[in-house]
Symmetry: C2
Subunit: 255 residues, 2 copies
């Protein structure tokens, strides 16, 4: 790093320095530090709080393939499209089976929710929709480098998934191999995705301006994730102020 | 209203019935019922809470003319554009003076904030941005009828503005004719805007499908407003959990 002129940094960071900067963003802002995750993984969530998390997080899951399709729609490189397409496949699965969305609906069933209700997204908080939709639009509208950099929260995901599997298995009756299949699968998929994405971003962010843009994109994405948990926490935990018309724990419950 | 077949309503509502339906949405969902407004108008806000409200609400104010410009950009009717354009003028003012944005920055100064900091939007909560940006995009992307129906929260605004002026004047030292000029001016502007918008929506929502869409657009807009106060309340009041990187009361304070 070079900061000669009155503290203003003017030269591009080395790949190692820039990667360190991206990882520092995760260390400071990734949603593993949100109190809702502590509550969830520590076994402190009530049934309605677990269900609200499943309902709201589904909106994120089901939007990811649209986000990745938006990315594909802007890639001029067939090579890049061929690699990136696996993300859509991983989440959507095949015509008849498989995919992260179906695995998330298995989790929904296991916590006593009607999967059709969850899939309808009728119980999703407005603030969740605003945040997730902002992410899909970011990837649709911003430079490809920024769009890919925003996906690098996956750098920090394996730790939280491993932690979540352990915490849920230890603390909740619904948790088992079948209901937690989504997270087990992501442990396999995410490292491959993020290794490619990180390498691409480090190589293509070849000016300080692009590095700043990529870092800001990653910050934006951490805001998207954090805002979802803030909305969940505010509505269902503390102070438990469900917005007008919001899901109150009754609709879509089958168990 | 006609609900013969197993409770499913199939016929278009009369203008009076439909107006009643729209007003009922306000009665159930408008943000005058949010606890933050009770706190603010009742004199219960700390300095930092008032400032956080001013900073975050500015993001909404400064986005409104972009929203209305998006509306103008989609109007084929020059007559409609000529009428609607006054909304942009009301908020932006002239090249050198006037307009709601400048009046809001006067309010910012009066509560001890640097207007340049407020105008930079650096202190705005991510959740505020997600909600407000969703509104701008809604107006850019949805049918004109829906876009106009979303503006009808103005039906409910004069009451909250009158209530706010009274509450702020009674409870805060910063409140006076000059600092509250924004709200006084809106009391003049909003009734003209909403009279036109309501009449237009009532006349153009001539099928039940369009009435449903217009009602949903108004619900969407109440969600946009409510989410902003939820984010503010969660960050600065209860439990006071400021998101990572969020404004903590220090930056941009001059008094």
């Amino acid at each position: 790093m070079n900061e000669f002129q009155s503290g203003v940094q003017s030269e591009v960071q080395s790949a190692a320095e820039f990667e360190g900067r991206l990882r520092q963003i995760g260390a400071e802002r990734y949603h593993d530090k949100h109190p809702f995750h502590k509550l969830l993984h520590g076994g402190g969530c009530t049934e309605i709080q677990v269900r609200a998390w499943v309902i709201n997080r589904f909106y994120y899951q089901c939007s990811i393939p649209k986000k990745d399709a938006a990315f594909l729609s802007r890639c001029d490189s067939a090579d890049l499209r061929r690699i990136w397409r696996s993300r859509v496949e991983d989440h959507d699965g095949d015509v008849n089976e498989g995919g992260g969305i179906r695995r998330w609906l298995k989790l929904a069933e296991s916590v006593g929710l009607d999967p059709d209700f969850v899939e309808s997204c009728e119980g999703v908080l407005p603030a969740t929709k605003f945040a997730v939709d902002a992410y899909v639009r970011f990837v649709r509208d911003m430079p490809l480098l920024d769009a890919m950099a925003a996906s690098l929260t996956e750098l920090f995901a394996p730790a939280i998934h491993a932690n979540r599997i352990e915490g849920l298995l230890a603390n909740y009756d619904f948790a088992n191999e079948n209901s937690l299949a989504y997270f087990k699968q992501r442990l396999k998929e995410a490292p491959k995705d993020v290794a490619f994405g990180l390498d691409w971003v480090l190589r293509h962010a070849d000016t300080l301006e692009k590095q700043d843009a990529a870092a800001n994109a990653l910050i934006f994405k951490t805001d998207v994730l954090w805002s979802q948990l803030d909305a969940l926490h505010s509505a269902y935990v503390d102070p438990g102020r469900i917005p007008p018309g919001g899901w109150d724990g009754r609709l879509g419950v089958v168990a």
